[in-house]
């Protein structure tokens, strides 16, 4: 978005092509990373490795979509990782303990996630408790509930049909990748091109203006937290199907990784700006970085450092851009 206002060139082109709010910087960073990895490792550039990256990114990516919506509205959801774990457990128990047929695990995960989101949303809008506190509380509650429900032990023995969702392939493409890309496409369209998305951004940009123009701010916020919880439920379903268990410790600290992906992708932490496509690129940047460093046999501790550095770099670039625009 920042570059879209320059009179000519690539920025203007981006602005014309559907004014998608993808930062050029993140695209450049992704391209440079891919180029560097391709030069450094002979194994990097292949379709199967690319699918590997997408597969490794899919669970975090779905979470990051939820994070994007909430952050765009100047909210925050710190409970994403815990809600992921909780929904996976609920889905697994629905099949394993309640004896429901396997397809029931899917709505069970989504409803469990959406329910946590609903509670978050109602507490933020009705009780007027800051989102940071509400979702930090939910981070503890959802994780604790997952551990209580399972006595701290993973729920094994899921039906094979369910595993297909996490381990199967369709036309050679892993199912989680298909789900991730499909959800991302829909979520991108909704955020960038519909009134629902527009109101999300406007509420984050200037809540007073949103109110003055008749947008029902509280109702919209509740919907956003439900959406975010449902995304965590979807991620929980994918995670469960991939590891073949309802693991109560699944998704530990994932919320921070998801938020990192959204911020690297150009989402404004203080609301008002962001796109799912940007977040997708942000998640890919992290995925490529991890995958490449793995192929280069770099210790995983260094990977954490690299991702931390990329996060700071992304926000710094943003700062510089904002200052440049101020002067212009």
């Amino acid at each position: 978005m920042s570059a879209s206002t320059s009179g000519a060139g690539f920025g203007a082109l981006l602005a014309r092509t559907g004014r998608s709010t993808v930062r050029v910087e993140s695209l450049i960073v992704l391209a440079l990373l891919i180029a560097a990895m391709a030069i450094l490792s002979p194994y990097f550039l292949s379709v199967s490795n690319f699918l590997n990256i997408l597969l490794a990114t899919s669970v975090i990516g779905v979470l990051a979509i939820g994070a994007t919506y909430v952050i765009c509205s100047a909210g925050l959801d710190l409970s994403l990782g815990s809600v992921l774990g909780f929904s996976g457990v609920v889905g697994a128990l629905a099949v394993d303990q309640l004896g429901l047929p396997w397809p029931a695990a899917m709505p069970a995960c989504l409803i469990a996630g959406g329910f946590c989101g609903l509670i978050n949303g109602l507490l933020v809008t009705r009780a007027r408790i800051p989102a940071f506190i509400v979702t930090l509380g939910m981070l503890g509650i959802a994780r604790g509930a997952a551990l209580v429900l399972t006595n701290g032990q993973p729920v094994y023995g899921l039906p094979a049909e369910l595993l297909f969702l996490g381990q199967g392939r369709l036309l050679g493409i892993p199912m989680p990748v298909l789900v991730f890309v499909g959800v991302a496409l829909i979520a991108h369209y909704v955020l960038a091109h519909t009134t629902f998305g527009r109101y999300t951004l406007v509420i984050g940009d200037n809540e007073g203006a949103a109110r003055a123009t008749g947008i029902r701010v509280e109702r919209h916020r509740v919907k956003l937290y439900v959406l975010s919880g449902t995304m965590a439920g979807t991620a929980g379903l994918l995670f469960m199907a991939r590891v073949n268990a309802g693991d109560p410790t699944a998704g530990l600290n994932y919320e921070l990784t998801a938020i990192t992906a959204a911020i690297i992708g150009g989402t404004n932490l203080f609301g008002g700006r962001g796109s799912v496509l940007g977040t997708f690129i942000g998640a890919l940047i992290m995925g490529v970085l991890q995958n490449g460093l793995n192929l280069l046999a770099v210790q995983s501790y260094y990977q954490q450092m690299a991702i931390g550095a990329v996060l700071i770099l992304a926000v710094w670039l943003d700062r510089i851009n904002a200052q440049r625009l101020q002067r212009a």
Partner: protein, 246 residues
């Protein structure tokens, strides 16, 4: 008959009498300056007109019908637009989006409306609106936050115009602007009048009020203390009304 007619409008908050029987009329297509010191009742009066407050007594009619009991949205639909001092714009959204904020035209797909925004139409109509105003905005794709104060004021006015209002109330539209920008906003107000839209200009800047208004209404302690044609009064007389020396 006046476009907007107020008759003995009263409003109290606890034991504070904010409005103590205000009566005046505003003709279609005229520009009226509303002046008064802080706490004189200007804001309360405007909020009664736009439906945010409900008057305790008296009547308000617009375009020949009573509007006292209507909700803000309904009053807006009748043709009264209010532009607040803080403008209520979204700085990270572009000009076109801001102009259509909250009432984006949508496209339907196979008879279904899923809230898909008709971007092309928004840009087209936003451009038309800016053109109609003669506002100096380079492109409707600019983010509002990158525009100057005067340009942002133009966007807020353009947004008010999309409702096809008959009366626009502006709260301190020139208070935060550079001198050169003030002239531009005053020109916009004259343009509204040329298009037959009545304007109520609330301002502390008497030079601006004198520059564009036909009539000046002064409020003091919740009452109309003066209501005179601009041509027949003077800066000194108005100041005297405001501070209570006249």
């Amino acid at each position: 008959m006046s476009l907007l007619a107020l008759d003995d409008v009263q409003k109290r908050f606890g034991h504070v009498e904010a409005l103590r029987g205000v009566s005046f009329g505003i003709e279609a297509g005229s520009v009226v300056g509303l002046v008064g010191d802080n706490g004189a009742g200007k804001s309360t009066l405007m909020k009664c007109i736009t439906g945010i407050y409900r008057a305790d007594a008296g009547s308000i009619s617009f375009d020949g019908a009573a509007i006292d009991d209507l909700e803000p949205g309904a009053i807006r639909a009748r043709g009264i637009e209010m532009i607040y001092q803080d403008l209520a714009l979204a700085p990270q959204q572009d000009v076109a989006s801001n102009i259509f904020l909250g009432r984006e035209p949508t496209r339907s797909f196979l008879g279904l409306s899923l809230g898909a925004i008709d971007r092309a139409r928004i840009e087209r109509e936003a451009e038309r609106m800016i053109e109609r105003l003669g506002a100096r905005i380079p492109s409707v794709r600019y983010q509002v936050g990158q525009l100057s104060g005067g340009q942002q004021q133009s966007v807020a006015i353009a947004r008010a115009l999309t409702f096809e209002p008959k009366l626009v109330i502006m709260d301190e539209p020139t208070a935060a602007l550079a001198v050169r920008e003030v002239d531009h906003v005053l020109e916009l107000i004259r343009e509204l009048r040329r298009q037959g839209i009545a304007v109520v200009l609330i301002s502390h800047r008497l030079t601006d009020v004198f520059a564009v208004s036909e009539r000046i209404i002064a409020l003091r302690q919740g009452q109309v203390i003066a209501d005179e044609p601009t041509a027949q009064t003077s800066m000194n007389a108005v100041v005297a009304h405001i501070v209570g020396a006249g």
